[in-house]
Symmetry: C2
């Protein structure tokens, strides 16, 4: 029992109260979580324990008294138990495994052999099984018996032969809908028509299969067609959230945190941010080198320096848009690698148009600025032209770099989300300076330069 202090009456939560607490759970501090957990009665505490995920669950488990842990970990289905154990510190894992009953321990060890983010690591090995050759009525009776077993769902059942090879799948609804004396083999969807996933498929791929509607559960098969487990759609909602969060954080220019904002230690968070920030900083140092190369021009025409931030940031923004679009479209399967030429053409056109829009606005801004002559000198029309032309080139360049970079990264086996907005901006900054000063040199040659 989590309420160990024993002084106050343990708190019982209504379903709505529990729901509300869960919604806020990740924003509580560790201590607050433990305090609340300690004040709940056994039923509410169990409900809470069952409903929180991976890391949070492991923390609650950790603050239970030793002698209590066995009955709590046995509440979990094997896939959740495996997740919890993997969240524990190395030293605690063996101990936690020992708390499980023998057959569950074997299942959990089997699951832990998979990487967490593939089908094998996500599936539940306990699913409803049926033998071939029985009638609908017998199948219904079998399923009814299996409700007492800890199968993940009885709404989808799988017909297996003696070697665990998948012969077919049937939903409870189909069984309900069929005449009692019909043969199961006539009602089920035969294996060649069943959608399945391989044990090694990544959770990203699985999420995509589920997003194509209609499936609420998928069987997981090994290379020989043996059924290893079942993945249900409720596992996938969490996966989809997680994948999106990871991608966003990478796209924001850092490593994925893997933990809620308030849960991750300050040191860990800084480590995950400092790496990329430093890498970008070192990349951005080339801007100083590039500008050093044009120091002489800047000395002659300081006015050129005034527009540097405006111009390079426009390239960065255009690149940020393009890279965000393409990374997400690739994650959703809307854009594939061999679409690169179509993407290139599309981005070339939109980059050019966007560049023209900004270029015109930028030129006008200088041309019609009230204090233009004192600020930009007598040659302000030439400056305006140089800035305008550079903007067209740099915005186009940003769109092309931003869209091609994620595809190049995937091509060479990296995560496209690493082509973060800041990364693209840095690349565009350095090259953008070269574009700007080159165009300016040409246009201002013989006058200012």
């Amino acid at each position: 029992m989590p309420s160990r202090k024993g002084s106050k009456k343990p708190l019982s939560l209504s379903e709505q109260g529990l729901e509300k607490m869960l919604a806020d759970w990740n924003s509580f501090s560790d201590n607050k979580q433990k305090r609340i957990f300690g004040t709940l009665d056994r039923r509410s505490a169990e409900e809470l324990f069952l409903r929180v995920h991976g890391h949070a669950q492991a923390e609650l488990f950790f603050c239970l008294p030793e002698f209590d842990r066995k009955s709590w970990i046995r509440l979990l289905p094997p896939d959740d138990a495996a997740d919890l154990i993997q969240e524990l510190p190395e030293a605690g894992r063996h101990h936690a495994l020992d708390l499980l009953d023998h057959p569950t321990r074997l299942e959990v060890l089997g699951l832990m052999a998979y990487k967490e983010d593939v089908a094998g690591g996500l599936m539940n090995p306990r699913y409803a099984r049926l033998r071939p050759g029985i009638t609908v009525d017998e199948a219904l009776r079998y399923l009814r018996e299996q409700t007492r077993a800890q199968v993940e769902t009885i709404y989808y059942a799988y017909v297996l032969d003696r070697h665990q090879t998948l012969l077919g799948a049937v939903s409870l609804r189909e069984l309900f809908n069929a005449p009692s004396d019909k043969k199961l083999d006539e009602v089920m969807t035969t294996a060649d028509k069943v959608v399945f996933v391989r044990e090694t498929q990544t959770q990203e791929e699985i999420a995509r299969v589920f997003a194509n509607k209609e499936h609420r559960a998928l069987p997981v098969l090994d290379a020989e067609g043996h059924m290893k487990g079942i993945i249900t759609i409720d596992d996938v909602v969490h996966v989809v959230q997680e994948e999106a969060t990871e991608d966003m954080q990478k796209m924001g220019g850092m490593e994925a945190l893997d933990e809620p904002y308030f849960k991750i230690g300050m040191g860990d968070m800084i480590k995950k941010r400092a790496g990329w920030l430093l890498a970008l900083f070192i990349g951005e140092m080339f801007t100083a080198t590039a500008m050093g190369f044009y120091e002489h021009e800047i000395e002659k025409a300081v006015v050129l320096a005034l527009f540097v931030p405006l111009i390079i940031s426009s390239g960065g923004n255009s690149g940020s848009q393009a890279t965000t679009l393409i990374i997400r479209a690739m994650a959703l399967g809307e854009v594939r690698l061999n679409d690169w030429w179509r993407v290139f053409c599309r981005e070339a056109v939109s980059g050019l148009i966007l560049g023209l829009i900004l270029g015109v606005v930028g030129t006008m801004r200088i041309f019609f600025w009230p204090a233009r002559e004192t600020l930009y000198g007598l040659h302000y029309p030439l400056i305006a032209m140089a800035v305008g032309c550079s903007l067209v080139g740099i915005v186009l360049w940003g769109a092309l770099m931003g869209s091609m970079l994620p595809m190049v990264l995937r091509r060479i086996g990296f995560d496209p989300a690493a082509a973060s907005a800041p990364f693209v901006a840095t690349l565009v900054d350095v090259t953008g300076l070269v574009i700007y000063f080159t165009i300016a040199s040409i246009i201002l040659h013989g006058t200012l330069l």
Copy 2:
């Protein structure tokens, strides 16, 4: 029948073939989609039609011959029919509604009255209902009858009184597990313990409820507790994907596209990108103004200009990290508005440490650069100091701005995701210049300036 040319034999797709085609569907051009659709046999075409979403479904519907449309639209459950009709051009909607049978038309009209992104617009009004007071055996019989009706699922049934007030909920599994002659009222979860959503709750909130595991279906109630429909978890996977995509696109500095990359028209895409790009550009113009203000200093020490891109981009990157973290944490409910002070403190500490790291690296870079005296002049140690101090200030400033801005936006009723990385970078660029030149003026006063 979609194959109208009639010359070639229509194509039949296996389940795996269909699955593969669906995975790639959104990357096909409109014409390719129509061509493929036209070559399929009726069964495969129907499967495809049922599995694609909103916009894609509406397009397939649109390329059916008029006389065929009735039998196709009647394949859809009312929530999907409402989605499809809302995707049609204004003029086609009435016509499509007329194709439905009378009771379905009423249901669809009812659904269309809701906004698309609230519970009411997402729910299916056809769910399994039971009367109170019956036995488990009777309940099972009723459910078996309802499998023939077009209810969304028979796995979750709702017990209603004559006024459609929700009395309780029961899963088929619970019914299976209970003795046949037990009263339904004893088996069901009573209404006070049933988790439900209100018809006006947004899909973002609903996705959060589902992400807290355990629920696979939720009843939708109006303010008086009458049951209006059911939302199942498979509707939510799509919603979660969609919400994440919208947020990412906003965070990348543009409007959400609402359509797959290759599907959206070039004009629309440019419009959705140009607005923000232009707004950011106009914001960024203040950098030219700010730098104009320091033109005199730059003239005296051109070397200062060399580090402008390096310094302002570091602030932008730090801001991009912070804003990404906070926007996502708010979307997932990990961070709430009244956590702002905790966020502020956390970001102050990490911003300061990150700033110190970059500051030290930046100082060293100048201090130990081989060509330091020719490039940066005799006063290079002072320049190094000015750059280093500015970096600390600007990285810290970026982290604070980036984290507070999404919270301010939500506070005043805007979408926090609008605090995109480019938006924060623009703000930080302008203010960062002021910080940099102020610090430089102080440090270099009496020597270079």
